[in-house]
């Protein structure tokens, strides 16, 4: 399938999404709390596990969006 002509530009802008996990994780003041708990697990812990999954989602999305510019 031919790549859409703007795929290069879109891939480039999509990369800005990769900043989000840094903001979400490098400021512990955002998440160093015990409440709300999830099944007895403090927020501090389950929030970071959640970000493993969100991080996969974001990197995967950027990969999908930039595939046009990502030749081999």
């Amino acid at each position: 399938m031919p790549e859409p002509p703007d795929s290069d530009g879109r891939g480039r802008w999509a990369r800005l999404l990769l900043i989000i996990p840094f903001v979400a994780l490098l400021f512990p003041t955002l998440y160093a709390h015990a409440e709300p708990r999830l099944a007895g697990i403090p927020f501090f812990i389950w929030y970071q596990f959640l970000w493993v999954i969100l991080g996969v989602g974001i990197t995967g999305l950027v990969y999908a969006l930039s595939r046009g510019s990502d030749r081999p």
Partner: protein, 523 residues
């Protein structure tokens, strides 16, 4: 007391793995007298093999022992492994495909090969190679420490068993090169996933659920003296330490020689990008393993005499599981040590043969001789690491490895910044490296090498490597800016085209991930 059933399972899995290690030399058969084949598996590993290989390479046995050990000793702070191994992948996604491409185009085996060409400086390449070797040696030693911990828990005297395990490892690495750890990684990762999934269901079940586990941790923290508390939520005084060690460790990890070996062995940029998306599965695993530290607190485990807090996970398994499954778990840790130890020794050996031996001792050597030097050095590296473990107290090795990360991060300008910034000056980078190393080592001395955190007078305790890389980058930027104004930027031997995939015809060959096989003897 010797746990025979555990021992039998560990030996059985060890034999299986050794057979795989030797058989690997026939896998994707090629001329192993060529360093690109022996040391990089011919750069033909696709997405799935690379996923196992990098997972087995980066998430080492020592990590699996140390992360719950730190959580067990200090509580929430130990979970910095989570942000660390999450934010690393956006960085890999952005930078490593470009480094892979230039290395593929120019036939680089090591990061220092790239540095040599980028700056046309064999001296700077040597500095980066030595940094890599010095940081890797104690890391290999700690893999042996992982095996030693398992053997001691099974109840046999570790020395003889260690020598046997390492002799076998050394021989099959010598014979099969990177193919051996790539295949064994599949077994390793399978075992680790099995153990962790069973453990994260079974142990909380035995301890009355997560609510009860954290309730016990909080009770213990509440009555402990302030400095001994092990809270399950990070204390405000450690916020900067937590962020700086997560970021600093993430910046350093892919500069390690063994990480670059894993990256370079991939068959394409696409393989690396996909892996940057899917490798965090292991971060989830590592986070779960970190939680075992809390479970050990809740289960009332005490630090052991011989191994301190690092025995927490082994003692927890021993206490919770039936002994046959403890055997499986211990085998997972032991095999988990072999994979990174093999890759690290290959990576260190390649640095020696390419960036020291060829560069300074025997420039005219043939490709076959080059591969032979690497093979022999990979043996010597393991002997050295084993001697380390048998001779030095373990705490010294752990401290040395802590220092390794602080040193390794100083390769960031050479290996990553240089991919993007043209107007750098090599002497500014040398000065930045020296400045970062000096500050880092000075701060480590202040802390007697016992911790990687230091109070530099702002923001409380922070990761020493983080301070080192800031100083390094400031020197690199200032020095390169001055040099650029004087028209003295280091151009090196590379042009932008060297970083780009070659035109269509060849690109198609990449797409199917098949590099033309080397004709035996053509080297």
């Amino acid at each position: 007391m010797t746990h025979w059933d555990e021992l039998i399972i560990v030996i059985a899995i060890g034999v299986l793995v050794s057979v795989l290690g030797f058989w690997a030399s026939r896998w994707r058969r090629a001329d192993l007298n060529h360093l690109e084949e022996w040391g990089l598996g011919g750069r033909r590993f696709g997405t799935i093999v690379t996923w196992f290989l990098l997972g087995g390479d980066l998430y080492t046995a020592y990590t699996f022992v140390a992360v719950p050990g730190v959580v067990f000793a200090l509580g929430a702070y130990g979970l910095f492994a989570l942000p660390y191994t999450i934010i690393i992948y956006p960085l890999v996604f952005l930078t490593m495909p470009r480094l892979w491409q230039v290395s593929r185009n120019k036939g680089y085996i090591t990061g220092s090969d790239y540095v040599r060409d980028r700056f046309d400086s064999r001296f700077f390449a040597l500095l980066i190679a030595l940094t890599g070797i010095v940081a890797t040696m104690p890391y290999i030693a700690l893999q042996i420490f992982g095996i030693k911990l398992v053997l001691a828990n099974i109840g046999i005297s570790p020395e003889v068993a260690l020598v046997i395990a390492f002799a076998v490892l050394a021989v099959f690495t010598f014979v099969s090169g990177l193919r051996a750890p790539a295949l064994i990684a599949i077994v390793k990762d399978g075992l680790i996933w099995l153990v962790v999934i069973v453990a994260i269901i079974y142990i909380p079940y035995k301890l009355g659920g997560f609510g009860n586990i954290f309730h016990k941790v909080e009770q213990a923290a509440a009555i402990a003296p302030k400095l001994k508390a092990k809270p399950d939520v990070l204390q405000g005084s450690l916020f900067n330490a937590y962020s700086s060690i997560a970021l600093g460790s993430a910046l350093a990890l892919f500069l390690y020689p063994h990480s670059l070996t894993g990256v370079f062995s991939a068959s394409g940029q696409r393989v690396i990008r996909r892996n940057a998306s899917f490798l965090p599965a292991y971060s989830f695993l590592l986070g779960v393993i970190g939680l075992f530290g809390f479970m050990a607190i809740a289960a009332g485990i005490k630090p052991s005499k011989a191994f301190g807090n690092n025995s927490a996970i082994a003692d927890l398994f021993q206490k919770m599981f039936p002994s046959w499954f403890t055997g499986v778990a211990f085998a997972a840790i032991a095999v988990g040590a072999l994979v990174p130890a093999a890759i690290m020794s290959i990576a260190a050996a390649n640095l020696f043969s390419r960036n020291i031996w060829r560069e300074y001792v025997h420039p005219a050597m043939s490709r076959r001789e080059e591969a032979t030097v690497s093979k022999v050095v990979s043996l010597l590296v393991k002997v050295g690491a084993l001697a380390f473990v048998l001779a030095l107290p373990t705490t010294d090795i752990i401290n040395y490895q802590t220092a390794g990360g602080v040193w390794m991060i100083n390769a960031l300008p050479a290996l990553v910044v240089s991919l993007y910034v043209k107007r750098l000056n090599v002497w500014a980078l040398v000065a930045g490296w020296a400045g970062g190393m000096a500050l880092g080592t000075y701060a480590l001395f202040q802390e007697k090498f016992a911790t990687s955190l230091h109070d530099f007078g702002f923001g409380g305790k922070i990761y020493i490597g983080f301070a080192a890389i800031i100083v390094n980058l400031v020197i690199v930027i200032a020095g390169s800016a001055v040099a650029a104004m004087a028209g003295r930027s280091t151009e090196g031997n590379l042009t932008e085209a060297d970083y780009q995939p070659p035109a269509e015809a060849e690109a198609d060959t990449y797409r199917t991930a098949s590099v033309p096989p080397l004709v035996p003897g053509s080297a």
